[in-house]
Symmetry: C2
Subunit: 120 residues, 2 copies
């Protein structure tokens, strides 16, 4: 039987490219994880699981927090000072707050910003 | 010293809401993980880590594959037959292929589809 598709949970998905960040920060998986946990907390999201990976040497970090409210991810390219962030949150959690927290704490410049309403 | 921000790695981020999917499938974390792994393989992406969580009972699944090329995530709402997917891939990996694989294998109808070029 097909499910009712007439309505769904409203969620917000924010994609942000942050530029001009110190390369050393973008290679530090521990620091990046701490900042994402702080951002999730600021957004009132609850962390279910975390995984962060440093590609080694001069490489970047890729990581995600799986949330009760969906997810918060980051992928970094230290060679160009870029952090690509996405925050997908439903319920009372505030995806925009998480992204703004990361922009401020990473010291980056928000150059591309996309907000998509999901599950409408 | 600020990093050079004049250019960056080109990536594609695809967001897709898939509707009309069997609720039983959307509660089965093992099956959802298998389908995402197949989708990543079809897109020529390499899995670094996986985490899938079932909220229990009639609840949905939230999960992510962390990829060498970024990530592939899913969040499901069985009560309305919805799977919200996002595929963020750089390099040779094909985010669109992963999303189309999931649409076909989940038997869903693609109702909202957003493609964002990242890190341009």
């Amino acid at each position: 039987m097909a499910a009712d598709t007439s309505s769904g949970p409203r969620s917000t998905h924010v994609l942000a490219d942050l530029w001009g960040i110190e390369p050393a920060v973008l290679r530090d998986a521990g620091r990046i994880e701490s900042l994402l946990r702080e951002a999730a907390d600021a957004a009132r999201a609850r962390v279910l699981a975390a995984h962060f990976h440093h590609f080694g040497g001069e490489g970047g970090v890729t990581g995600v927090l799986l949330l009760a409210e969906s997810h918060l991810s980051i992928h970094t390219w230290p060679e160009v000072g870029l952090a690509a962030v996405d925050a997908f949150m439903c319920g009372e959690a505030r995806a925009e707050v998480a992204v703004e927290w990361l922009r401020a704490s990473l010291g980056g410049e928000l150059r591309t910003h996309t907000v998509v309403r999901r599950g409408g």
